[in-house]
């Protein structure tokens, strides 16, 4: 090997890159690279955003859920959203923007509003939840005296995790943060709001349905009604999952029909516990849900016979559950349970 010394020594100071790619080639490569910058950036952005929502957030992979970081305490003040000027602004936004837009993109059928005529004072409205359309539909359907004085419980970890989003949500919906997943970081504003004469709109399932069917109702709303002695109005929304399911940011085209069905206000009895009241609420929700399919009287009969349960969907593969619940509602409600010609 000693004979190669000089050759090796001469070769040593020159890095290999020089020998292989001349300056010209290097410059040319750089030019190509610069030309591809825009395309490259687009490609990178697409890869980065795949699997993330429009806010750039990714859902936690299932196997990582138990390893999620405990979140630090945070609180977003919403008191300003109930000041007179902001209420007026919200009324304007809802009447001139949100409600007409919702009604133009869907074909809502609002039923049972007469049940609210005898209702006085603040109440807790509860509804099933499967779409971002749910809140605008309910707010747009409510009589004015309630629509002007209602606060909406919104997931703290979803709507109140960024200041701008929290501000917009509070302004447009008069939303207040509700902790879910058993977190006790925030003091609940709900009792405070009821004491001040605000009605509440709550979604006891805690989140939008994954497949259009209802999940288990949490006890919070019933507990609130029992402890504060306020009535609860069950509402059922049908067709909103098919109109704008989770993952969509805009309703499907074709103005799908949606139903907003108000039920009879339920008042907790003097000795009734939260679980008992919750059970009555669940029964009322089941009956309202069935009313769209069976008609009013048949749903009452089935409910009285104990044949109705919470509409949690068939025990089938997830695609079948989704398939069934994403079926558009028929353009008219179901035929009544009785036959016209059978009436006296």
């Amino acid at each position: 090997m000693s004979g190669e010394r000089e050759e090796r020594a001469q070769r040593a100071p020159q890095p290999r890159t020089k020998g292989q790619h001349g300056e010209r080639e290097e410059r040319q490569r750089l030019r190509y690279r610069k030309a591809g910058t825009a395309v490259g950036l687009l490609k990178e952005t697409r890869t980065l955003l795949s699997g993330r929502d429009w806010r750039g957030r990714s859902r936690t992979p299932r196997s990582a859920i138990e390893h999620e970081s405990p979140e630090g305490p945070r609180e977003f003040p919403t008191g300003w959203a109930r000041m007179a000027a902001v209420r007026a602004a919200r009324h304007g936004i809802q009447c001139a923007g949100l409600t007409p837009l919702t009604w133009s993109l869907t074909r809502p059928s609002v039923q049972g509003l007469h049940q609210l005529e005898s209702l006085t004072g603040p109440a807790v409205f509860i509804a099933n939840h499967s779409s971002h359309l749910d809140t605008p539909l309910i707010l747009g359907s409510l009589p004015r005296r309630y629509a002007r004085r209602i606060a909406v419980g919104a997931a703290a970890d979803y709507f109140f995790d960024a200041r701008w989003r929290a501000a917009v949500t509070a302004l447009v919906f008069n939303a207040f943060p509700v902790e879910r997943h058993g977190s006790r970081k925030l003091r609940s504003l709900a009792p405070h709001l009821l004491d001040r004469g605000w009605s509440l709109l709550l979604f006891p399932e805690g989140t939008r349905s994954e497949d259009g069917w209802m999940g288990q109702m949490r006890l919070g709303a019933a507990q609130l009604c029992v402890t504060r002695g306020v009535p609860c109005v069950p509402i059922v929304l049908r067709g909103t999952y098919a109109a704008m399911p989770r993952g969509r940011n805009w309703p499907v085209p074709g103005r799908p029909r949606v139903v907003v069905q108000f039920g009879t206000p339920l008042v907790p009895a003097g000795t009734e516990g939260a679980r008992g009241f919750q059970s009555r609420l669940a029964g009322a929700v089941s009956q309202l849900w069935a009313e769209e399919d069976l008609g009013w009287y048949r749903s009452l009969r089935d409910s009285a016979d104990g044949r109705l349960g919470l509409p949690v969907g068939p025990p089938a593969a997830s695609w079948r559950r989704t398939w069934e619940s994403s079926r558009p509602l028929p353009s008219r409600r179901a035929e009544p349970a009785w036959r016209e010609d059978a009436l006296p």
């Binding site: 090997m1 000693s2 010394r5 090796r8 070769r11 040593a12 100071p13 020159q14 890095p15 290999r16 890159t17 292989q20 290097e26 750089l30 690279r33 610069k34 910058t37 490259g40 950036l41 990178e44 952005t45 890869t47 980065l48 795949s50 699997g51 993330r52 806010r55 750039g56 990714s58 859902r59 936690t60 992979p61 299932r62 196997s63 990582a64 390893h67 970081s69 405990p70």
Partner: protein, 525 residues
């Protein structure tokens, strides 16, 4: 509270995951069902570090307090880990410097005049004065350099001493100054379970005569893995040598462990789990990625090598090497170990820009092999994350580039030896003596900043266990000709690589991606 490591199973919710690829990185969508090994989150660093150092020196394990071991007129040698640790280099002040200052404070108070500081660089390249200064700190450098702060020279026959031999006939030959000292204080950074303990003096201050007993193909093939000392033939050899050393030399070992804060806050997204990236992390990713991809290779490399890690120190332990190392290993595993349920057909690793032998240098193809098939493949306990006969997929550009000053013998090894064979056993038998004793390489090792002539062969042996274990090695984004020279295959994309791998492991392979750095070690059950 740091979260423990865990194994993610890629589902439809999983966003694209970060993969390192030389002086760059990318996001990759892995197939559904792929397992991804994440290390535990970074542990909190010790607060009041100087207090912890003083406490360790005053309350050592299995030894008297350091101040009791120092006396006027003694011969004290302080040895410290060289630039191969930690990776990336840590932000200054370096923990070695802080510990050495504490040791010297005690030595000065005791009136010790004869103090020498030696970098335990073994057959690695010498550290430059700037690198030495960075490691030991300005004050120590100013007081000792150049006469009493130097690099170990494994080819200086006059300054080597054969201390003895083990019952297996392994010669223990180390630096003479250290061997004849009244006390060796070894200052260590243990980044992986492989380092520290009996390895420190017996390797850091050794000569080729001594190293060849454990740095050989047979030993490395029986080190499964070399990050699991009880199952590593290499560590058994270190232990035997340490036994010989203990009988002759008094060693006071000071070991430290680091947390997983591998990248500075500007590159914080590299330390985070992808689904937890904030908008800011995503914007930073896009900006850094594009800027990095557009930068010329040299500038890109220079930038990466200027990046210093904001490591926190998780433990400082002092005393007798064996007892100290037990505590150190526990702390390393506390930070890195993740339990994995069985091996898979395909293992995936993203190789970063740095390995122990290219600090401020170029990661050449041999070093890529050593990092991938040596270091990363061996980041396991019990069994590899890939089954025998499985496929390893690495991400690396694998450029045919060498640093002519740092790696001269690597160039010849690549051009002459690998052109003929890639079989470690054949290479060892035919070429080791030639490269180890070549006077030109020896000259460059001693007088320039070159790695020892035999070093590229050692790097090849480093991957011998993986080469024997695996059915195929595929490098995504690698240069095809270079990959062929190494005996690997190159693929443009992960999909291509998986398609190629299916020829070896079948149509529905299981895949495990070891998400590192930050370093993770798989405890495969």
């Amino acid at each position: 509270m740091s979260r423990p490591g865990f194994v993610l199973e890629v589902d439809e919710r999983t966003p694209a995951l970060l993969v390192h690829q030389g002086e760059g990185f990318r996001l990759e969508k892995f197939p559904l069902g792929t397992r991804v090994i994440y290390p535990p989150e970074s542990l909190p660093g010790l607060r009041g570090l100087d207090g912890h150092i003083r406490h360790a020196l005053d309350h050592p394990l299995g030894a008297e307090p350091l101040r009791e071991l120092l006396f006027a007129g003694m011969k004290l040698t302080i040895v410290f880990d060289d630039l191969s640790l930690p990776l990336p280099p840590m932000q200054t002040p370096d923990i070695r410097g802080r510990i050495i200052e504490a040791v010297l404070e005690l030595a000065a108070a005791k009136g010790v005049d004869d103090v020498e500081l030696i970098a335990g660089n073994s057959l690695h390249r010498r550290m430059t004065p700037a690198e030495l200064k960075r490691a030991v700190g300005e004050r120590v450098f100013r007081s000792f350099f150049p006469h009493h702060l130097r690099n170990h020279d494994a080819e200086d026959r006059d300054n080597l001493l054969e201390v003895g031999a083990t019952k297996h006939g392994e010669v223990v030959e180390i630096n003479k100054r250290a061997a004849t000292s009244d006390l060796i204080v070894y200052v260590n950074i243990t980044l992986t379970a492989m380092s520290g303990g009996p390895k420190s003096v017996s390797v850091g201050l050794a000569s080729y005569r001594s190293l060849k007993h454990h740095h050989n193909v047979h030993t490395l093939r029986h080190s499964k893995s070399f990050n699991d000392p009880p199952n590593s033939a290499m560590h058994h050899s270190y232990d035997r040598m340490a036994g010989v050393l203990d009988a002759q030399v008094k060693i006071f070992q000071i070991e430290t462990t680091l947390n997983n804060d591998t990248f500075p806050s500007q590159l914080g997204f590299l330390n985070k789990r992808e689904w937890e990236w904030s908008i800011r992390d995503q914007a930073t990713y896009l900006a850094v990625k594009r800027a990095n991809d557009l930068a010329p290779v040299r500038q890109r490399r220079a930038l990466w090598h200027r990046t210093a890690a904001p490591y926190g120190i998780t433990s400082v332990t002092a005393g007798s090497p064996a007892e100290v190392h037990e505590v150190t290993l526990r702390n390393v595993l506390r930070q890195q170990l993740t339990e994995v349920d069985g091996p898979s057909d395909i293992g995936v690793w993203g190789l970063p820009y740095i390995c122990p032998y290219n600090v401020n240098s170029i990661m050449n193809p041999i070093l890529m092999m050593s990092l991938g098939l040596g270091y990363f493949f061996n980041l396991y306990r019990n069994q590899p994350i890939v089954r025998p006969g499985g496929v390893a997929i690495y991400y690396h550009p694998l450029r045919n580039e060498f640093h002519p000053v740092h790696h001269p013998s690597y160039i010849d090894f690549y051009e002459e030896v690998l052109a003929e064979t890639t079989d470690p056993v054949a290479i060892e038998a035919k070429y080791e003596q030639q490269f180890a004793t070549d006077p030109w390489y020896t000259h460059l090792y001693r007088n320039s900043y070159a790695y020892h002539g035999v070093h590229p062969l050692y790097m090849w042996y480093w991957g011998a266990h993986a080469l024997e274990h695996l059915g195929q090695v595929i490098v995504v984004g690698g240069d095809r000709r270079t990959a062929t020279r190494l005996g690997f295959r190159a693929a443009s994309t992960l999909d291509d690589a998986l398609e190629m791998a299916r020829d070896v492991v079948g149509r529905s392979p299981t895949i495990t991606y070891q998400h590192t750095p930050p370093l993770s070690m798989a405890d495969v059950r």
